[in-house]
């Protein structure tokens, strides 16, 4: 190219008049030298300088068409030209290089800026991986592959990108740890250098990036390595940010759930319970008024109010218990209690519900005390009693028994109701489960049995539901661990 330029200048000069050309020659020949220097670098420029000198001597310095020079003055001119051409070519080519470097740097910074903007929009790890692959492969024009870390500590090979065997083997044999040293591999057949870098946040290793940075001198490789590392630095910062964001999001969600529960609890216990207490109390005052007592119709209305309030109160009570369970707030306050007291209290508490049934109780004489939270067990028995009343026709008998069995105490509640199918039995422990058969006909929230089983479980006991078959009644049994106490008047202190 430099030679073509020189030839072109020679041709132009040839076309001009001889005297004009002679004075223009040295300056005109600087043009191809500088063009060569700015366009193609220092060596083409030097070549152009030498060729220009030769051409000037050959075509324009007498004797023309000969490399010989007659005038010693002209020899000096030619040598001077050569020096000037070489120096200016050198300067111009250096300028070109600087410009090139600056442009490259600007591009790098621009790319990196673009990348960090993309990273800022990353909210999940998969976003981030896509950003890394995209940036390395497209923007830098370098082949990159991402190996996701598996839970067992090894890396998963990428699905799409093609990676040389040597890289593949090296990566999959490695163990995913944040501390693994960075590695450079040389792919045998192509002599491409592959950079392996682990991508990790403070808490976890995400995976490994393999980048093909091509071939070149060790200097070029080092430059590219630095660029890739700058990117990975950016990536790990983003990972930390995502980690922090995730932790904050989790904390925020937990706080919200907690607030919601507290609000629910507060609302239920105050906003609902206060009006309810007012209605219940007012109804009871009305009921005791002589004027109402004389009027049968008014009395039955007051009775209805009382019953509905009791129903509502029971429902709110269940919900409160459910929030208590969900909040993980069941911490039993263990105290030695008489199982009889617990059952009697439960029966009394559900007296209204049981009013239409015959209730039979059978307590064994040798019942030991149980070390339980009597409130929780009473609530559980109450829920089971309520279910028994709900799922058996009025007028039938509900039998309640307490007996000791191999040191344990078993409280059983049997009804003569609809029974339970094996399928329903499997689902019993689930929150809000209600049998298909009853959803339309029997009111309820499906919370009762769930609450009962959680409460009994918290006391170290178990609930068992048995039924001889559909329509043949159900027996619910609570088994509580028996006391260590054998004598009626113990001498050892418990707890």
């Amino acid at each position: 190219m430099s030679l073509i330029c020189v030839g072109l200048v020679t041709a132009i000069l040839m076309l001009l008049e001889q005297p004009v050309a002679a004075s223009l020659v040295p300056i005109a020949y600087l043009v191809p030298v500088i063009i060569a220097a700015t366009q193609w670098g220092i060596w083409p420029a030097t070549l152009a300088a030498i060729a220009s000198m030769a051409a000037a001597d050959f075509f324009f310095f007498p004797p023309i068409f000969s490399f010989q020079v007659e005038d010693p003055q002209e020899v000096i001119d030619l040598l001077l030209f050569l020096v000037v051409a070489l120096v200016s070519g050198n300067l111009a080519s250096r300028l070109r290089q600087e410009t090139e470097t600056l442009r490259q740097r600007e591009q790098d910074i621009h790319n990196l800026y673009d990348f960090s903007r993309r990273l800022a929009a990353c909210f999940t790890v998969s976003d981030l991986i896509a950003a890394i692959e995209n940036y390395l492969s497209r923007t830098l024009g370098q082949q990159a592959a991402f190996f996701a870390a598996r839970t067992d500590g090894h890396f998963e090979p990428p699905k799409s990108a093609s990676v040389p065997k040597v890289v593949q083997e090296n990566v999959t044999s490695g163990i995913a740890t944040a501390g693994a040293p960075p590695k450079n591999l040389v792919d045998g057949p192509t002599q491409n250098v592959w950079l392996l870098r682990v991508v990790s946040s403070e808490t976890a290793v995400l995976g490994l990036v393999a980048v093909n940075i091509g071939t070149g001198t060790s200097e070029a490789i080092a430059l590219k390595t630095r660029r890739v590392e700058a990117i990975l630095e950016e990536v790990s910062l983003t990972l930390q940010r995502i980690d922090i964001e995730k932790a904050m999001e989790d904390a925020r969600l937990r706080l919200q759930a907690q607030l919601l529960r507290d609000a629910f609890h507060g609302t239920l216990s105050h906003e609902l319970c206060t009006p309810l207490a007012a209605i219940r109390g007012s109804a009871s005052v009305l009921d005791s008024m002589p004027r109402i007592q004389k009027d049968a119709r008014a009395r039955s209305l007051v009775e209805a109010i009382s019953e509905e309030v009791a129903e509502l109160d029971g429902f709110i009570h269940s919900l409160l218990n459910a929030t208590r369970v969900t909040a993980g707030g069941v911490s039993p306050h263990l105290e030695w209690s008489d199982p009889r007291d617990i059952l009697n209290a439960a029966i009394k508490g559900r007296a209204r519900r049981l009013a239409t049934h015959k209730v039979e109780t059978k307590f064994a004489e040798d019942l030991p005390l149980v070390n339980v939270d009597s409130g929780l067990i009473e609530e559980s028995c109450g829920q089971l009693l309520e279910n028994a009343a709900k799922y058996s026709p009025s007028g039938t008998t509900i039998s309640i028994s307490a007996k000791s069995k191999q040191g344990d105490v078993v409280l059983s509640i049997s009804d003569q109701g609809v029974g339970i199918t094996p399928d329903e039995r499997l689902n019993l422990g689930r929150r809000s489960f209600r049998g298909q058969r009853h959803q339309a006909t029997v009111p309820g929230s499906g919370l009762g049995f769930w609450i009962a089983s959680v409460f009994v479980g918290a006391n170290g006991g178990t609930i068992d539901i048995t039924s001889p078959g559909q329509g043949l009644g159900t027996t619910a049994s609570i088994t509580l661990p028996g006391s260590a106490m054998k004598h009626p008047e113990p001498t050892a202190r418990h707890q």
């Binding site: 009006p275 207490a277 007012s282 209690s337 307590f363 009597s374 106490m485």
Partner: protein, 237 residues
């Protein structure tokens, strides 16, 4: 009823609750004073000399237990707590702080009236000086230490009598486990509730028609025991 009009002070911030309490008490011949916060309540307790205070726990300016403590610092007037908290610990704490009894919202008026009467009876007991406590078919002569059931004298062991004695002096009111244990036992055994459970069983065998379904000596789950002034079925609303 020929008793003089007892003055009852209601310290309760909810007007809806005060309204039915006033109606309920007035229907039974009480004179009612109302206070809607702790400050007013404490003032009324000082200047109006009530015979009975019904105290709500959730007051806007001061927690009910604090109000109870201040009242107790200068007065023995019976205090019955109204609480939405069904937590046993809270009840026990309040009873130990000097409350005479409690009812948990929602409650029926008959229940509160029964508690109120029992508290008043105990408060005025020294004035009536009747040494015989009657609870349904049971009568306990605190002076001669004799117990009879349906007019038939029954024999109790020393501990059984001690238990019955404490309950009888608080007839109609709840007595905490702690109080019973302290009074009946001494030393390191007194915080062992198992003794109490067993003793109650034995006493029930002697005084209850059906010990499996006690109607006189009833259990207040997690709190203590209560000797009913009348048979439970009659007292229930």
């Amino acid at each position: 009823m020929s008793r003089p009009a007892n003055i009852v002070l209601l310290i309760e911030d909810e007007s809806k609750i005060r309204r039915f309490l006033r109606a309920g008490f007035e229907l039974q011949g009480y004179t009612v004073i109302e206070a809607e916060n702790a400050a007013d309540g404490l003032k009324a307790a000082t200047f109006s000399a009530p015979d009975l205070i019904i105290l709500d726990l959730a007051l806007p300016d001061l927690h009910g237990s604090e109000v109870l403590e201040r009242i107790r610092s200068w007065s023995n007037v019976p205090v019955i707590i109204l609480s939405v908290v069904s937590a046993e610990d809270e009840k026990v704490r309040l009873l130990q702080a000097g409350a005479d009894d409690y009812v948990v919202k929602p409650f029926g008026m008959a229940e509160l009236l029964a508690r109120s009467e029992a508290a008043l009876r105990r408060y005025f007991k020294s004035a009536t000086e009747n040494p015989v406590v009657v609870a349904g078919p049971l009568s306990v002569d605190l002076v001669t230490r004799t117990v009879s059931l349906n007019k038939q004298q029954i024999r109790l062991t020393r501990k059984e009598y001690r238990l019955l004695h404490i309950l009888a002096t608080h007839v109609g009111l709840v007595v905490t486990h702690d109080q019973l244990l302290k009074d009946i036992w001494s030393g390191n055994q007194r915080d062992n509730i198992q003794y109490l459970r067993i003793l109650v069983r034995k006493l029930r065998q002697k005084i209850e028609t059906d010990p499996n379904h006690p109607r006189l000596l009833v259990t207040e789950s997690g709190v203590g025991y209560r000797l009913q002034a009348r048979l439970e079925d009659i007292a229930a609303d």
